[in-house]
Symmetry: C2
Subunit: 129 residues, 2 copies
């Protein structure tokens, strides 16, 4: 698919496979899920309860994509009813710290962002008069 397989990956090119990867890891649910899996393994419904606003359908899709991309490991235990545990793969571990930085940045700089938004909105409504 990459028109220049011999060249270095370039996510600014539409066909580059790194673009597909970036599309997925630069995703809010992926970031939040990895933030939890970084702590310990989680079960499906535990993740669902923990992440407010995430629907069962989207969690299912996201976990499946992450499993396909090799970021998470899925293990089903033959209990009744079945128990499924999600954990980070070795590959996922290499990414987890990086995405967690985004969560930490949000927490650290939230006040500055909200202040910037209010200043921007005030400028706009003032300019519009």
């Amino acid at each position: 698919m990459n028109p220049n397989p011999s060249m270095a990956p370039n996510p600014y090119s539409r066909q580059c496979p790194t673009r597909l990867v970036l599309d997925r890891i630069a995703d809010k649910w992926t970031v939040l899920i990895m933030g939890l899996l970084r702590q310990r393994p989680w079960r499906f419904n535990a993740l669902l309860r923990e992440i407010d606003g995430l629907s069962q359908k989207v969690l299912s899709q996201t976990l499946k994509r992450m499993e396909r991309d090799g970021l998470v490991h899925r293990e089903a235990f033959p209990t009744v009813p079945v128990t499924v545990e999600y954990s980070l793969s070795a590959l996922g571990e290499t990414l987890a710290g990086s995405v967690n930085v985004l969560i930490e940045w949000s927490e650290t700089h939230i006040k500055a962002v909200v202040a910037a938004q209010q200043a921007y909105d005030a400028r706009q409504s003032g300019a519009r008069q």
Copy 2:
């Protein structure tokens, strides 16, 4: 909006303002744009040409959001026709390195991801028979 303003921010809660911030910075276009602005200031149409697959409409929306969030600075020069330059704000600088790690991760681990995808797909088609 945050039901517990006295508590630490918690992006896993739907109402937490950090969630809104995370929604925006964990976005593929934002990551790619910041990756470029990190190098030097860019003009609107230069960004548009550089980022393959990004439409004018979405670039416009994304830059406006980033400006409102205080991540980028927009400066218009009174030339004819007008010249507009986008650059990182001080706040944006604090984030730029972190998001760039995601781009670098994509480039570094793209082979492992594609291999994982192929292995997954092979398992699936095999299991389906």
